[in-house]
Symmetry: C2
Subunit: 254 residues, 2 copies
């Protein structure tokens, strides 16, 4: 008697997958090894990459040509990214997610390249030291298949649409992102702090906003990253302001 170990995707699973996706700073990348010896086909190769997200949530990685994974992706762009949430006790008791994907490099001075550079540096300020080295490049991963594991016996297979953010009609939000982030961090640092502590249970500190999109905002403090999802999808700067104010009021009421 075979029991299907895969559960139906519900809101809780979707939210877990979105949070894992949007809070990743480092992940394991699997590529096909160009250095595979003695075999006809290329074998798997696992390496560490630092990661952030494009506005729709797609993972972006900053990789060097001095590392094997760049040559591997250039020869075959198929890859897989493992995102884990570590913690105490049995490693298998914690959530993790495998993305099966195809990578594509982003031209440094393209609109996407500049947007991704800004979003990546907001999450990894120390990468400023090497982001412009000629051997480094940003790659974006197009997700084909997802395997989510929320802990023992909690396996799901969400679709890319379950975890990515629909950007349709949200051009005004994306265009205003830079200004919205600067405004929040300069004039509403108290609100960012409240989102982190009162709504997301984090310890207090100078939390800053690092990303804004139709589904929520990203917050960071040192190496900690948090995701504040919005109660509804936001596509205009007016609704963004109202939603951020409503979330701050909800936080104050706690």
């Amino acid at each position: 008697m075979a029991i299907d170990p895969i559960r139906a995707v519900d809101d809780e699973a979707r939210q877990l997958a979105r949070t894992l996706l949007r809070t990743v700073r480092a992940a394991a990348l699997a590529t096909l090894d160009v250095e595979t010896h003695g075999t006809q086909t290329r074998g798997p190769f696992a390496s560490l990459v630092s990661t952030a997200n494009d506005a729709d949530g797609a993972p972006i990685i900053l990789i060097s040509r001095l590392s094997g994974h760049t040559a591997n992706l250039e020869a075959d762009p198929r890859c897989s990214l493992l995102i884990t949430q570590t913690g105490k006790g049995d490693p298998l008791a914690h959530p993790r997610m495998t993305l099966v994907a195809t990578g594509h490099p982003l031209a440094r001075d393209s609109e996407a390249g500049l947007r991704v550079r800004r979003r990546f540096l907001a999450r990894h300020p120390k990468a400023q030291l090497y982001v412009d080295f000629p051997d480094f490049a940003f790659w974006c991963l197009d997700i084909a298949r997802i395997s989510l594991n929320g802990g023992f016996g909690k396996a799901y297979e969400p679709s890319p649409a379950d975890i990515l953010t629909d950007l349709t009609g949200a051009e005004a939000i994306l265009a205003a992102e830079d200004g919205a982030i600067a405004h929040m961090n300069a004039d509403h640092a108290d609100a960012a702090r409240l989102y982190a502590t009162a709504l997301l249970g984090a310890t207090d500190g100078p939390w800053r906003v690092t990303g804004v999109d139709p589904d929520g905002i990203d917050l960071a403090l040192g190496e900690q990253v948090l995701r504040l999802p919005f109660p509804h999808r936001v596509t205009t700067p007016g609704d963004l302001r109202a939603t951020l104010a409503e979330r701050a009021a909800a936080a104050r009421a706690k």
Copy 2:
């Protein structure tokens, strides 16, 4: 002008690689995906595995047939394991190591199967809950190639012999391992604690010995794992006793 980014392997690199290898609890496994759709060849798949080490240091993993990686390994045993040491700041500033390997399953009741089960449970006591489920099996990874990165600009390619423990002539140590561990934990718990705090800089607590081999001992406290390397290779129970006593004396003298 091409500069070779790979440094010559020295004692420090060898020690770092051995410590990473021997203290791993969870790692990212890259396999070739049997579910790859729409392509002629199998793509890469990254997943989380919990890990321990056989007596020579070879990684052992405990995996379930309900997870995709088992089917992947059964179809093609080539794999790669990423071992990382996480910490504060830039993810790329911390040591990590990629092993390119081939997996082989261990028969449950074979001598190797029983030894590996004991060593795995010493590192992961909570795995007792599921280790004997029929869908779970131990696999051992035979290392073919190693890529060690000690942080920015510190890339090395140690050989398997650089990081594995030579067991030649050490049969008496391996046969005595069970008894030596029980004796240490029952009668010399103070020594295990001293090794951890005085020699390895860990915080105090009821550290216990979980493994003994010719090159050193493994220590654990909850989810923390430490490696105490011996100053010289040990092959007899007499030398083991003397070396453990000498290490305790060195710890007390600190």
